[in-house]
C-alpha cells in the first residue's frame, strides 16, 4: 500500500488516536477495581436489550467485564503501537457494535445513555466503527509502527519509498 506523506500522516494519526481512546478506557477500568459493566448492560434499550439485560443479570457479567477490559487494552495497544492492526480494527468494530446496539440512538428510546450531543441513528460509536473500517483496509503499521520496525531488512527500501 502506498501513500503520500499527508495520507500516511493522517492514517497513522487516526490509528494512534483511536488506539489511545481504547487503551485509556481499558486502563481506567483496570485501575478502578470497583468498575463493572452491569449497570450499563441492565440499562440497555432497543430491540436487543433483552440480550444485554440477560447478560448483565447473569453469572456471565463478571466474565463480560474481564473480556471488555482485555479487548479495550489489546485493541488499544495494537493500534497505538502498530501491530495486528487489521485484527484489532475488526475486534474494535465488534466491541463498538455491542455498545451501539445496547444503547442505540433510536428516536423514542427514553434513556439511550447520557449524551453530550444530539444523535439520530448516527452516534460517535458508529463513526468510530467506520473509522476502524478505514484502518482495516488502509493499513499503516508497515510504514509507522512495530510491523515496520521488525520487518525484514530487505524490505527497508520499499518502506522508505512508500513512506517518502
Amino acid at each position: 500500500m502506498q501513500y503520500s506523506k499527508n495520507q500516511l500522516f493522517f492514517l497513522a494519526s487516526l490509528r494512534i488516536l483511536i488506539g489511545w481512546h481504547f487503551l485509556y478506557e481499558g486502563l481506567i477500568k483496570v485501575f478502578n477495581p470497583g468498575w463493572t459493566s452491569k449497570a450499563y448492560l441492565l440499562s440497555a434499550e432497543g430491540p436487543l436489550s433483552f440480550f444485554f439485560k440477560w447478560l448483565g443479570g447473569s453469572a456471565l457479567a463478571d466474565a463480560a467485564d474481564i473480556i471488555t477490559i482485555i479487548l479495550l487494552i489489546g485493541i488499544g495497544l495494537a493500534l497505538v503501537l502498530g501491530a495486528f492492526e487489521k485484527l484489532a480494527a475488526f475486534a474494535g468494530i465488534a466491541l463498538l457494535a455491542m455498545f451501539y446496539l445496547s444503547h442505540p440512538p433510536i428516536p423514542g428510546l427514553e434513556n439511550a445513555g447520557p449524551a453530550e450531543g444530539n444523535y439520530f441513528l448516527v452516534n460517535k460509536n458508529l463513526i468510530e466503527m467506520a473509522a476502524l473500517g478505514v484502518l482495516a483496509f488502509f493499513p499503516s503499521s508497515h510504514l509507522v509502527g512495530l510491523v515496520y520496525y521488525f520487518k525484514k531488512q530487505d524490505d527497508e527500501t520499499v518502506g522508505q519509498h512508500t513512506a517518502g
Binding site: W20, Y24, I28, F31, K53, G82, G145, Y149
Partner: protein, 535 residues
C-alpha cells in the same frame, strides 16, 4: 543500499517510525494511573470524612417454636395484604395476580420467609370478606365481632386493619385482654383515645406495634446514621410531599357488587361514628369522611411524619398550621384533597458545624395534592448538605457548607455531584403495577432490601413484632412513636378545621385548646372552616 541500512541515520529513522507508538503507551499509562488515583483518593477522603455506616444488624429473631396464633380484624385491602405476609393468600388473590400477569407477586409470596404464624380467626363486618378467609384458610374461624375474638383462648395476637375510627377502641380492648397488637396507621382517630391507648399499653403485658413498616427500610436506617454523624449539619427545613392523581390514590375504591345491608353489619361498622342509614360509599370509601377516616393528615401525612421522625427523632412539633381544601374531587367528600401542613420545631437541632448558638430550630413542611402525580422528593436541608430520601438516598454537599468548605475549595467535593449515594434498587428491574404502588415504592414504603434481595418492609415489620412477642425484643414503632404520629396528625386536622395555628404544650403533653373548645368534637365534626368564624 546495504551500506545505507547500516548507517546510524537509517536505524534512527527505523526506531523513530517503528516505535512511534511507545511514548504514547507510556503517556496513556501514566495518565490513566494518575486519574484513577485521584478519583480513588477523593472517594476515600469523602467516605472517611462522612464515615457512613449503611449496614444493619440482621433481624435474626428466631421464628421457631409453637406458631403464634393470630386473628385478623379487618380483612379488606390492607388486611388481606398483611395476612399474605403472614403466609396466607386466598385463591382469588392468586387468580387476580394471574389475570394481571403479575407472576412476580406470586413468586415473591412463595419465596417469602415463613413467620410461623397460624391464622386462627377473622373478623370482618362484610360477609364476603370474612367468608373468603374462612373458606381459604383451614383452622381460621369467623368471629362476629372483635369482642368475641378477644375472648377466645385460640388467639394470641391481633392484626388490626380496620377503618381509622376503630383502631384505638379495638387496640385498647385487645391490650386489656393481653392480646398482642399490630395496628395500622394512624394509631388513633381522635385525641382522647390517644391518651387512653397510651394508658392501655402501659398497663398491658402485650406487645404493641404501629404499622409504619418503612422503619425497616434500609435507606431510612442509613439516613439515621447519616444524621447522627452530622453529615448534613444543622437541618433547618424538611420537605415531604404526597402527589397522586388516580382514583385509587384519591380513595375512590371499587364498591363490591355484593354489598348490601344483608351482607354488611352496618351498625358495627359505624361503631362510635354518627348513626346514619346504610351507605355503600361510606363503607368502601370511608377515607373520604371524617367520621371514619382522617383525611390527608391521618392517612398520608402520618407516613411522612413517621418517616422523618424515624430519621430525626424530632418528636412533637411546637406549632402546627394547615391549609388546603377540596379542590380536585368535589364528589361529596369531607376531607381535603389538597393539603399543606407546616410543623414548627423552634428548639430542635441535629447538630451544627458552626459556632455554638447560631443555629437552632426547624420547619417540617408537608404538602399534598390528589390532583397531580409529579414526583416531588423528600428532602432534608442542612447547612452542610442536602439529603434526598426515598428507597434511594442521595446526599449533596452544600456550596455554602462550613464542614466541607476546604474539600469544596480543593475540588475534592463538587456540590452538583452527590457525595454519597445509596441505591439498593440499582440492579432490580421490576414492574410496578399501579401509580399508587409507585408512589409508595418511591417513598420507601413498600419494600426494602436484605442481602441484595427485595423484601416487603411490612413483612420485616410484622417479623419484628412477632420477634418481640417471642423473645421480648423491642419494637421500632411502639406507643411513643405512635403517640407522636397520631397527635401531630390531629394537630394538622384541627388547624385545617379551625383555621388557626395549633400549639402543643410539651410540659402537659397536650394540645392547647381555647376556652370553650372541645378539640375532639371539632376534629370529628363534618363542619369545616366554620370554627374560626364562630370563635
Amino acid at each position: 543500499m546495504s551500506k545505507e541500512k547500516q548507517s546510524p541515520d537509517n536505524s534512527r529513522r527505523r526506531a523513530l517510525k517503528g516505535l512511534a507508538g511507545l511514548p504514547f503507551v507510556g503517556g496513556i499509562l501514566i495518565g490513566a494511573y494518575a486519574e484513577s488515583r485521584k478519583r480513588k483518593l477523593a472517594k476515600r477522603n469523602i467516605l472517611e470524612a462522612l464515615n457512613i455506616n449503611a449496614t444493619r444488624p440482621e433481624s435474626t429473631a428466631d421464628m421457631s417454636g409453637d406458631p403464634i396464633r393470630v386473628g385478623i380484624i379487618g380483612f379488606g385491602g390492607r388486611g388481606s395484604h398483611l395476612v399474605r405476609l403472614l403466609g396466607y393468600a386466598t385463591p382469588s388473590w392468586f387468580e387476580r395476580m394471574k389475570e394481571e400477569e403479575n407472576e412476580g407477586a406470586i413468586k415473591a409470596f412463595q419465596e417469602q420467609e415463613n413467620l410461623n404464624v397460624q391464622l386462627t380467626g377473622v373478623c370482618d363486618v362484610f360477609d364476603v370478606y370474612a367468608e373468603e378467609a374462612v373458606a381459604a384458610f383451614p383452622g381460621c374461624k369467623r368471629y362476629r365481632n372483635y369482642e368475641e375474638m378477644l375472648e377466645s383462648p385460640d388467639i394470641d395476637a391481633v392484626v388490626i386493619a380496620t377503618p381509622d375510627h376503630w383502631h384505638a377502641p379495638i387496640s385498647i380492648a385487645a391490650l386489656q385482654a393481653n392480646k398482642h397488637v399490630y395496628v395500622e396507621k394512624p394509631m388513633t382517630h381522635n385525641i382522647g383515645e390517644t391518651y387512653a391507648l397510651q394508658e392501655a399499653v402501659r398497663n398491658s403485658k402485650a406487645v404493641f406495634q404501629v404499622g409504619h413498616q418503612h422503619r425497616q427500610t434500609q435507606s431510612f436506617i442509613t439516613a439515621r446514621d447519616i444524621i447522627k454523624k452530622k453529615v448534613l449539619g444543622h437541618v433547618s427545613l424538611v420537605q415531604t410531599n404526597t402527589n397522586r392523581n388516580d382514583d385509587n390514590g384519591a380513595w375512590q375504591y371499587d364498591i363490591h357488587e355484593k354489598a348490601s345491608p344483608q351482607t354488611i353489619d352496618w351498625d358495627q361498622f359505624l361503631g362510635g361514628a354518627p348513626k346514619i342509614p346504610f351507605n355503600k360509599e361510606h363503607f368502601f370509601r370511608w377515607r373520604k369522611w371524617w367520621a371514619y377516616g382522617s383525611g390527608l393528615s391521618g392517612d398520608l401525612m402520618t407516613h411522612d411524619y413517621d418517616r422523618i421522625n424515624c430519621v430525626l427523632e424530632m418528636g412533637m412539633p411546637k406549632y402546627v398550621s394547615a391549609s388546603g381544601g377540596i379542590y380536585t374531587h368535589h364528589d361529596g367528600r369531607e376531607v381535603p384533597d389538597v393539603f399543606q401542613v407546616a410543623m414548627e420545631y423552634p428548639d430542635f437541632s441535629v447538630g451544627t458545624s458552626r459556632p455554638k448558638g447560631i443555629e437552632r430550630g426547624m420547619t417540617f413542611l408537608y404538602s399534598a395534592t390528589l390532583g397531580n402525580q409529579f414526583n416531588r422528593s423528600t428532602i432534608l436541608m442542612g447547612h452542610d448538605g442536602t439529603m434526598e430520601l426515598g428507597n434511594t438516598l442521595t446526599i449533596y454537599a452544600d456550596p455554602g457548607s462550613t464542614r466541607y468548605a476546604s474539600m469544596i475549595e480543593s475540588n475534592l467535593i463538587q456540590p452538583e455531584i452527590p457525595i454519597y449515594s445509596y441505591n439498593p434498587e440499582a440492579e432490580e428491574v421490576d414492574a410496578i403495577t399501579s401509580a399508587t404502588a409507585k408512589y409508595f415504592a418511591d417513598k420507601g414504603l413498600l419494600w426494602t432490601y436484605r442481602d441484595g434481595k427485595r423484601v416487603d418492609s411490612a413483612l420485616l415489620h410484622l417479623k419484628e413484632w412477632l420477634g418481640a412477642i417471642r423473645h421480648g425484643t423491642p419494637v421500632s414503632c411502639g406507643i411513643r412513636e405512635g403517640f407522636e404520629e397520631a397527635m401531630t396528625a390531629h394537630m394538622g386536622g384541627l388547624s385545617w378545621k379551625i383555621g388557626r395555628r395549633i400549639e402543643w404544650d410539651a410540659a402537659r403533653q397536650e394540645i392547647i385548646a381555647l376556652p370553650g373548645e372541645d378539640l375532639d368534637e371539632i376534629l370529628l365534626s363534618t363542619r369545616v372552616g366554620e370554627y374560626a368564624m364562630e370563635t
